[in-house]
């Protein structure tokens, strides 16, 4: 049986200034005695499912077992898209079925359930499932209810994750999958991938406006203002500018291709 906590994390694209996140918190505090509500962010760019998915990857596994992770970036609210509970060994995830849990599906053994919205009563707003479906569903889990009490089986799940591609014997095509707060360009290639492929340290990294040799240990291995490649703190390869903003400097965007050659 899953360990049990009173911790719930919130990740949304709501901003805070309209009070919508406040409403979700109100529902949680009213429904769950002794709950701890942990803000992750409400500054995900509006509708930016991939940004939310990537952020989630950076924090979910650090929390104590039993934590409920709520993610509401939900451009399809009010359509037929499902609301989900995803259960892994240690956590529950609650949010829409639109790809926000893509990395969880890649990294974890999981079960997924479709939330039966109709059980959450007449009061469900077609525009605000964060308050009327996802927060109440999280509250049920925090109060120890099993998912089956308010869900049904689900078959197909949305995921956007695409692995890197082998172009030929000595070349991979990677993609920029995320640009972080500091302008670091994160690629769909991890240190584990690097080790498994047994690539040489002197690998060449080619992108739109230049190239680099080798993967550094830390930002300061490049002079101030210089561009470098290094492993980020979640194990992904990233292109960064020491004390600068690589995305702006190199004019690169999510989806851009980067070649790894050796």
């Amino acid at each position: 049986m899953k360990q049990y906590s009173r911790l719930v994390t919130l990740l949304t694209d709501f901003g805070t200034e309209d009070g919508y996140v406040g409403a979700m918190k109100g529902v949680l505090f009213r429904s769950v005695p002794q709950v701890s509500v942990v803000d992750i962010s409400h500054e995900i760019k509006p509708y930016a499912i991939r940004q939310a998915a990537f952020a989630l990857l950076n924090y979910y596994h650090y929390f104590p077992a039993g934590t409920v992770h709520v993610v509401v970036v939900d451009p399809g609210v009010g359509t037929a898209r499902s609301g989900l509970v995803v259960e892994t060994r240690d956590y529950f995830f609650v949010g829409p079925d639109n790809g926000v849990f893509s990395f969880v599906y890649e990294r974890e053994n999981f079960k997924a359930y479709r939330i039966r919205e109709e059980l959450f009563g007449e009061q469900v707003s077609p525009t605000f499932h964060g308050r009327d479906v996802f927060a109440p569903a999280a509250a049920q889990l925090l109060n120890g209810k099993e998912p089956k009490a308010f869900t049904e089986p689900v078959e197909q799940l949305e995921s956007f994750y695409v692995g890197f591609q082998q172009k030929d014997d000595n070349q991979l095509a990677l993609q920029v999958i995320h640009i972080d707060h500091f302008g670091n360009l994160v690629l769909n290639f991890t240190r584990d991938d690097f080790r498994k492929l047994n690539l040489p340290e002197t690998v060449k990294i080619k992108f739109k406006n230049g190239f680099l040799y080798g993967i550094q240990r830390t930002f300061a291995d490049a002079a101030e203002g210089q561009v470098l490649a290094l492993w980020d703190s979640s194990g992904f390869l990233q292109i960064a500018q020491n004390r600068g903003n690589a995305a702006r400097l190199l004019q690169m965007e999510i989806g851009d291709t980067v070649l790894l050659q050796w």
Copy 2:
């Protein structure tokens, strides 16, 4: 007697980066054992009283009875404007008398009290009542003190709320009272108003750069990029662009008039 909690919510225009909100939190944690401090937002636009009032409306009633809601958007700090405690059946509200509680006065039975600043000691900064008056006043309420212990009666209260206007037999003049994070234009007209007036479903909504027929159920009832009218999650009529920003698209602002015709 009012139910009693340890929950206090904070809504300010301070931003967070100067540590001013941190100071308010410090005062609360120092004064109230076991307090739970809940951030609503600190990103209200500087001095934007109406934005704060609208945000408050979206969350206050979801919290457990006994919650103390602190709102500090206070361009008149240091003038003769009063600091208030507003008491409703379920909640206390603490903040300046400048209209931030306008919607509370519309929707609730309430009593209002003027905070006696002089009781909060020599240390009151004329520029930072959030820390030196409102947080300490909230702490008193959280610790179970009655308002009368540190307030006096107040007569006149500031409110900016203006209802919609009946222009003639088949036309109402509404106002944009809020623009939310997604650019949705919120109007001073609710689903309750709509029902009471017994208006037809095919109502015509006229604004500066166009018009719409009918009120939809959810965003997805319009094609991506299209403009629609619908009820927002607090029951107000809003004009939105599906997956877009209606305020930007239509170049509309708070205070603009919208006509409802039938």
Copy 3:
């Protein structure tokens, strides 16, 4: 022996939208039963050590004794710069040795210790000490461990604080040390300094684009839109525009000189 709490505050330049702060919170919740994690800000400008130092000054001393204040604005992460624990009578401070604690050194009696990173295991990312060193170090302190358990002595400490300068018998040279959220210009001169020097009330304040006479009590002592000098809520002299943004109006920046004449 230091009083003991479960309170930890977080001040970073991480933004929230990448989930990095979420990871730090996860580490704290996992490591410290019953911890209360208090967000101060994650919107410090990237690498803005002075802004962080100033924010810290505004809140740290309001918290209950035993609070652990974590500050992670850390452009030198991964270099030889030390990680610090700074201990004062009432608090612990945890963060990099780059000047973020400059004001604490000015105002408090303190002991400083260098964190032995190697004790935090193989998992230390060279780019994310917030998660892998500072949050775990804070957790140790919150769990009642003494600093000596995971630190060593430190000699030299980074500080950027520069006091005001006496130019001649009736003139001081001050510096803009901070610009806050509202555009107020904060100077390195306090009400205590003013009293000790026994300066007249009619002092003249000269800056790039103008001058002022006298120091006001509150914003409203100037007409709307007018510029004034007053004591800020931490006791520093500031130049402000009533209901406006003085930094923008006067085109002044951090480091600019202001003359005080009498």
